[in-house]
Structure formats: structure tokens, C-alpha cells
């Protein structure tokens, strides 16, 4: 099987750091948010701490990977995603990436407002919690679609290999991304 390189080490690290942080925050967030889980788990002050510091850690880890990794490569990737023309990624994947980036900024902003709002009325707004919850629903929707295509759907799930090992089958790449001219691995 001829392989071509789809994702760099920095891109893969960024993806998995993002996924780990998101899932930790989703799990702890749902415990704080859903009454049934709140009752089942209890320990709200601890879960709150894990959620808040997990969020700070998530964003810091993303920044750290970007700073210490292949910065030029990431900028090139960002430029590639911005155009919305099919290339190494199709348009759906680009929209998913852009929305996730925007959601991360909004999760961070609304999360910090919730945290500081609990300590100072100047940061307290009646709509913050609505934004934070709405983001969760939207991000969860994207995640479900992403997981279906990357793990379950037979025609596309080969792409998971690209995100774990960095390389994908050249034939598969040609079929799914005809406008992409990958470097051979």
C-alpha cells in the first residue's frame, strides 16, 4: 500500500490535545449541568475545580503545542482552511475546523465570565450561562458528526489513520481529495 503524509506531528498533537481537553470538559460540564448526573456524582466543588482548571489547562496546552511545534506549518494549514476550496480537506471539514476554533474562543470567554462573575458582579451577565450551554449543544452536534465520519462511516473512516499515524492510503486520498497533491511518504 502506497502511503502519503496527511498530518504532521504538530497537527496530530494539536488535534489530540484538543480532543482530550474537550472530552474532559464535556464530561465534567455535563455533571455540573444535568440534574441526574449532578445527583449521581455529587462532589460539585471538586468537579467545578476540575472543570475550570481543565479549561485553563486545555487552552494553555493548545497554545503551548502551537508555540513549541511547527508554527510555520500550522500557519500554512490555517491559510489552507480559510479558503473553503477543496484541498487536503473538503469544505465540510474546513467549516468544522473554523467553527471549533470559534467555539473554543467563546467557551473560554464565557467560562471566564462565569468564573469571575461568581466573584464580582461587574462580570455577571444574565446571558452568559445561556451562551456557555448553547455552545455545548452546538459543539456536541459537531462532535457527533465528526465521530460518525471519522470512526463509523465505511467510506471515510480510513481518515482516522491520518490522525493517528499521520499517513493515509494514496489511492484513498486520490479518491476523496482529488484536488490535493500530497507529498509521498
Amino acid at each position: 500500500m502506497k502511503l502519503v503524509r496527511r498530518f504532521s506531528r504538530t497537527e496530530r498533537t494539536l488535534h489530540w490535545v484538543n480532543a482530550t481537553g474537550f472530552l474532559l470538559l464535556l464530561a465534567t460540564g455535563l455533571i455540573l449541568y444535568l440534574p441526574r448526573l449532578s445527583v449521581l456524582v455529587g462532589r460539585r466543588p471538586l468537579i467545578k475545580d476540575i472543570h475550570f482548571w481543565g479549561g485553563v489547562g486545555w487552552v494553555s496546552a493548545l497554545a503551548l503545542v502551537a508555540l513549541l511545534g511547527d508554527r510555520r506549518g500550522l500557519l500554512r494549514t490555517a491559510g489552507e482552511i480559510e479558503t473553503f476550496q477543496p484541498s487536503r480537506f473538503n469544505v465540510g471539514q474546513k467549516v468544522n475546523a473554523v467553527l471549533n476554533a470559534a467555539f473554543t474562543v467563546l467557551f473560554l470567554a464565557s467560562g471566564l465570565l462565569l468564573f469571575f462573575g461568581e466573584r464580582d458582579t461587574r462580570f455577571r451577565f444574565a446571558s452568559t450561562v445561556l451562551l456557555h450551554d448553547g455552545l455545548m449543544y452546538a459543539a456536541l452536534g459537531l462532535l457527533v458528526g465528526h465521530l460518525y465520519l471519522a470512526v463509523i462511516h465505511p467510506a471515510t473512516r480510513h481518515s482516522l489513520r491520518g490522525m493517528t499515524r499521520g499517513t493515509v492510503n494514496a489511492e484513498w486520498a486520490k479518491r476523496h481529495y482529488p484536488r490535493w497533491a500530497p507529498p509521498a511518504d
Binding site: 440534574p35 444574565a126 452568559t128 445561556l130 451562551l131
Partner: protein
């Protein structure tokens, strides 16, 4: 000639999403309120969150209720201290009401049906003394405590509720008994009540010691309203 530079739609989508999200801090709740008024209770459309309740606690575990041993102690500046069992409490005149519940963090549950007892019926036998001007509500969730002035306690729809929406109060809502004061934010509505004491005056409660307003009037305290 070079091909024209492709348009950067991604940047536009990113900025529009961030801008829409950030400005929703200003328009989110008013719009949501309008939508929910138009659709009926829109919050019932949101899966898994019954009527929009969230359950907030301050300690590691929720108190449990044992009907055989549970007591509500009425004490402090009273002529006669009382220790009421759950059945004693249920034997007092039953009051009911429908009122909205507002949390200081911004969520609201409309039209909650409460059943319980009025404070005056609880105090009738205990006989508060003249120098009592405050009420202390002690939760079984340690160290949660909050206070009302005696005047606030006389607001007609203040109650000690043991039923919510036709069922005995659920554990997460403060079983078996919670304070309900619809005029004030949720943190004044002490859950898992186990003591009500008459005190010389109202003091800062749990959240008030952390900077929240002692008089938590809905819409005009804690930085909301003018």
C-alpha cells in the same frame, strides 16, 4: 498571470461566530425569553434538563432524608423551642402556590407548583420574642446558611415547601424541605432545611459572605437592574 487569490471565507465565518457569540451576552436572554414565550416553554425542548433546573450544591455530597429520624428544629428567640417530625410538619395547614424560580446565574424556571407550610403556621406555637428581627435558615448541607429579615419572611408567598409539581420534594431540590421566596434569587431559597432560628437580625449567609447581595431581589440586586 497569477490566479486570483481565493477569498478567505473561513476568517469571515470565524469572526462572525465569535462576534455573534460575544454579543449574545447582551441579547441572549431577552431573545431566549421571547422565543420561549412564542413556543410555550422552550426550555422543555432542551433535552435532559427538566424544565431548565440546574442543581447547585456547595459541599461534597447531598444530604439524605430519613423520614423516621428527620427533624425540623425551630429555635433561637422563641418562647417555646419546637422539634417537628416530617409528619408533624405535614399535619400543619397546607399552603400551595405557583411561582417562578430565578437563579442569579441567569436561568429561570417558570410556574413551579409548590406545596408546603407558611412560616406563621410554623411559628404559631413557638411564639417569636419581641427582640427577634431576623430568621436564620440552616441547611443540612454544611456550611450552607442564609437569613431573611422578619419582614421579608412575612411576604405572602414565602413558604417552607415539601412538595414540588405535585410530588414530594426530590433530593436534589432539597428533600424533604426547602425555603421558597420567589421574590429573591435561588441562593436565598435554602435547600435541605433542618433548622429555622429566630435571631436578633439578619446576617450575611453563605453566598453573601462571598460577595452576593443580602437582599437578593430578582432583577434589582447582584449587579442586575439599576
Amino acid at each position: 498571470m497569477d490566479a486570483p487569490t481565493p477569498k478567505r471565507y473561513g476568517r469571515g465565518l470565524f469572526l462572525a461566530t465569535v462576534a455573534g457569540g460575544l454579543t449574545s451576552i447582551a441579547w441572549g436572554k431577552p431573545v431566549w425569553t421571547k422565543v420561549s414565550a412564542a413556543l410555550g416553554p422552550a426550555e422543555s425542548l432542551v433535552p435532559f434538563v427538566p424544565q431548565g433546573w440546574r442543581i447547585y450544591t456547595v459541599s461534597g455530597s447531598m444530604p439524605t432524608f430519613d423520614r423516621a429520624t428527620w427533624r425540623l428544629e425551630i429555635g433561637g428567640l422563641v418562647d417555646r423551642k419546637l422539634s417537628l417530625s416530617y409528619d408533624d410538619l405535614r399535619a400543619l395547614p397546607r399552603a400551595h402556590q405557583i411561582s417562578d424560580f430565578h437563579c442569579v446565574t441567569g436561568w429561570t424556571v417558570k410556574n413551579v407548583r409548590w406545596g408546603g407550610v407558611r412560616l406563621r403556621d410554623v411559628f404559631a406555637e413557638a411564639k417569636p420574642q419581641f427582640d427577634a428581627h431576623g430568621l436564620q435558615f440552616v441547611s443540612a448541607e454544611i456550611p450552607y446558611v442564609d437569613y431573611l429579615t422578619l419582614d421579608q419572611g412575612r411576604i405572602p408567598d414565602v413558604m417552607l415547601a415539601y412538595e414540588m409539581n405535585g410530588k414530594p420534594l426530590a433530593r436534589e431540590h432539597g428533600a424533604p424541605l426547602r425555603l421558597v421566596i420567589p421574590e429573591m434569587y435561588g441562593y436565598k431559597n435554602v435547600k435541605w432545611l433542618r433548622e429555622v432560628n429566630l435571631v436578633p437580625q439578619a446576617e450575611p449567609g453563605y453566598w453573601e459572605q462571598l460577595g452576593y447581595d443580602r437582599d437578593a431581589w430578582v432583577g434589582r440586586s447582584n449587579g442586575y437592574g439599576a
